[in-house]
């Protein structure tokens, strides 16, 4: 049952991810990206990480992709499809394919986990506790990074006043 769900969701995710990188129309890419992110959220839920699944949809789909669409609409016209790929297509396909092949080979043969996976726990309270105890320093650093990114983005994007 779980395997069936996994294969359906994984196939969906990979198919939409392929659409993202191959569609000539960039808005279609963005729409495919939405579905791909949702597929990844489904994978998280299968891994008993329902908090991460919800966060994935909330941040990636509800935030980042909206920003991307916003930028697309400010910079492109409808049906722009002149030369979407650069001339290093063949070489890139070779490199990306090679690296994927190595990674797939490594994941299929090189990973041996000794011991059983633990029983699923309710992750949300545990995650909150971890963020406020063990990982509190990276957590604060991330907040500063986000603040800096916000200020930086505003400074970069606003028009300079003469």
């Amino acid at each position: 049952m779980q395997a069936v769900f996994f294969f359906v969701v994984a196939a969906f995710t990979v198919a939409t991810a392929l659409l993202v990188v191959t569609r000539p129309n960039i808005v279609h890419s963005a729409v495919a990206l939405i579905f791909s992110f949702c597929g990844v959220a489904g994978i998280y839920v299968l891994l008993d990480a329902e908090f991460l699944g919800a966060v994935q949809v909330l941040i990636y789909v509800g935030g980042i992709t909206i920003l991307l669409l916003f930028a697309i609409m400010l910079t492109t016209r409808i049906a722009t499809r002149v030369d979407v790929f650069n001339e290093q297509m063949g070489l890139s396909a070779l490199i990306a394919g090679g690296i994927t092949a190595i990674l797939v080979y490594a994941s299929l043969t090189g990973i041996q986990i000794a011991g059983e996976a633990p029983a699923p726990v309710e992750t949300t309270p545990a995650l909150g506790r971890l963020l406020m105890t063990t990982h509190v320093l990276p957590f604060e650093l991330i907040s500063i990074l986000l603040l800096a990114a916000m200020v930086g983005a505003i400074i970069l994007a606003r028009r300079e006043k003469e």
């Binding site: 008993d48 990480a49 980042i64 916003f70 990276p138």
Partner: protein, 102 residues
């Protein structure tokens, strides 16, 4: 329970697709989208290990949260740069933005 390698293969394939996009697309926003795909692939691995390792302490999920936060910061700054490029060059194709090349 299905073996962990299934998830790792999925992560590897997503990573490869994202990499292909980064290397071939001309539109800067499309490149950003491909980068997001690669970050997602990494997160799939983090969460898969966090679920499957015995004695795991959910550290993988915490790292996934950090990756998501960094991805959000990256998208905000990246898109601001794209908008700045568009204002100055009237294009978002990265190979036409070659003022600093010689």
């Amino acid at each position: 329970m299905i073996p962990v390698s299934y998830y790792l293969v999925l992560g590897a394939v997503l990573f490869g697709i994202g990499m292909f996009g980064v290397l071939t697309r001309r539109n800067a926003i499309a490149i950003l989208m491909a980068v997001e795909l690669m970050l997602n692939a990494v997160n799939v691995n983090f969460i898969a290990f966090s679920r499957y390792l015995p004695n795991s302490t959910l550290d993988g999920q915490v790292f996934a949260i950090f990756v998501i936060a960094v991805a959000a910061a990256e998208a905000a700054v990246g898109l601001a740069i794209v908008l700045g490029l568009y204002r100055n060059f009237h294009t978002v194709n990265v190979d036409e933005i070659n003022l600093m090349k010689w």
